[in-house]
């Protein structure tokens, strides 16, 4: 707490429009109570910077004092036990939860500032949920074109062309006019991914995207993710798939007790973990024969 307490900055302006103008030069504004220099978290390289984040549900403190950087064009894997708060962290980044303390900087802007417009932030951040959350009253194609048409004001024809292309990419073009209830779990998950990708977000958050996919498709999705990264996508991926974390991620972050217990390159984490909690976690997975 104390580090941040000393010098802090905040922004009067809302986050910029959907287009990703990288960290504009913003004025530093003196806070009402305290003033200081801007602590963008040193910004620049890190598209997403999380600083001393805290989030609790009632008395259950899920995230305690969490700091984390996701640099531009990188894929960061988030691993940790069930209930360690991976999903919660992603929801906080997407402003679907109000944080209790700490800050989240996107392109150097503090998006937890109450003056920031949450909707604008969310258009630049895509998320795919653990449970797919498709809209059951719409067809697959309508699910995918909803945001482009309503938020980005793309015409129906263009949106549907984009949507079909995206469905093609996830191998579900023939299900375009099906209702989500008629799809298998894996098919639903692919639609959810397509829906998040079609908005061309700056940052993608994936919550267990591969958990419902069959092994054949996991490969395809991994290719898709790799491809996305080539296109300049920054990604934060919560996952239970250690093989995924090992092969695709640039960096691996291990969550425990509401904080980052350890982070580093996949080699560092998987081959030479230093934190005892990481060591125990990885040993148990190894025993399960899954690494």
């Amino acid at each position: 707490m104390s580090e941040v307490g000393g010098s802090q900055g905040r922004r009067r302006e809302a986050a910029g429009p959907a287009s990703g103008v990288p960290s504009e030069q913003l004025d530093t504004v003196s806070g009402a109570n305290e003033s200081g220099t801007v602590s963008d978290g040193g910004a620049g390289a890190a598209l997403l910077r999380i600083s001393h984040l805290r989030k609790a549900y009632g008395s259950n403190v899920v995230l305690r004092d969490l700091s984390l950087d996701v640099p531009d064009h990188q894929c960061v894997a988030l691993i940790g036990a069930s209930g360690s708060g991976k999903s919660t962290l992603l929801r906080c980044i997407n402003l679907l939860e109000v944080v209790e303390d700490g800050q989240v900087f996107l392109q150097g802007k503090d998006i937890t500032d109450p003056r920031v417009d949450g909707d604008t932030v969310r258009t630049t951040v895509g998320i795919v949920f653990q449970s797919f959350n498709l809209f059951p009253h719409m067809t697959v194609l309508d699910n995918i074109t909803l945001a482009p048409r309503r938020v980005h004001r793309v015409g129906r024809r263009a949106a549907e062309a984009d949507g079909m292309a995206m469905l093609e990419r996830v191998g579900l073009a023939d299900k375009a006019s099906a209702k989500p209830d008629e799809l298998s779990g894996g098919q639903q998950q692919r639609v959810a991914i397509a829906r998040a990708l079609v908005g061309k977000p700056l940052l993608m958050l994936f919550d267990e995207v591969t958990s419902a996919l069959d092994p054949e498709l996991v490969g395809e999705v991994l290719d898709l993710l790799a491809e996305l990264r080539e296109d300049g996508m920054t990604m934060l991926v919560a996952t239970h798939e250690m093989s995924f974390a090992r092969q695709v991620a640039d960096r691996v972050v291990f969550l425990a007790d509401g904080e980052v217990a350890e982070e580093g390159s996949p080699q560092q984490i998987f081959d030479g973990p230093t934190d005892p909690r990481t060591q125990r976690f990885l040993r148990r997975i190894l025993d399960g024969g899954r690494l």
Binding site: R91, T124, I127, L134, F135, P136, L146, K179, A196
Partner: protein
Amino acid sequence: MPDGWTPSPIERERLAYRRTRTRRSALIAATSTIVLLAVGILVVINTPGWPQFRDSFFDIKYGWQVLPQIAEGLWLNVRLMVVCEIVILALAMAIALARTLRGPVFFPVRAAAIAYTDLFRGLPLILVLYMLGFGMPSLRVSWLPSSALFWGCVALVLSYSAYVAEVFRAGIESVHPSQRAAARSLGLSHGQTMRHVVVPQAVRRVLPPLLNDLVSLQKDTGLISVLGVIYDAVLNARIETAATFNYTPYVVAGLLFVLLTIPMTRFTDWVARRQGWTGAGGAP
């Protein structure tokens, strides 16, 4: 079948068994229903008071005679219903959405919506009709409309909006919050989320109670007749009954209302079935 499948003998036997059983059970159920109905009717017909009852309520010749007049009244009910319903649906949805706003900022809006619902749902419609239909013109303000029909419709709208708003609210709250989260995460604003994701699912879920309110609105439009300005189906029936001391006109009005309700019911059921799961029943 594209793969040239034909039912195996065992499947055919199963189908035959199911068909037999279905047919038998359906027969039993249908027979018992019909027998029950027939017995009921026979009992009633053989009571000492039946001839008088029949003449009082089911005088067919007289019923035919008053039919055109009552149908004309019904046409008025229908027109009033349509006009009022459009306003009611809009107003009720606005109130329901106001109640779903969260956060202390919206407290006054929420409080106003709650107060509105409490007041107009609690007040007997007849009182609202009197206060507006008789009270407003008695204020003698030139720029206020003085037509009792206008104020009657306003009273209906105020009362029914409170009811329908509660129906909409139930629907909106029954949509799982994860749907809202998904929509917001795509960048949709609160309004867009409501409009494109929550409300369509909400409305579909509450279609039957919505239709309830529509059906009773259709009948309650007749209450405007206390203001002395319209001749609806029930008033026409009452006029006839008063002249002849025979309740058949009421029965005719009732049957016409039922006939009007049935297609509306089938239509909403069809709409509901067309979108999303049909629900109900589940496993065999």
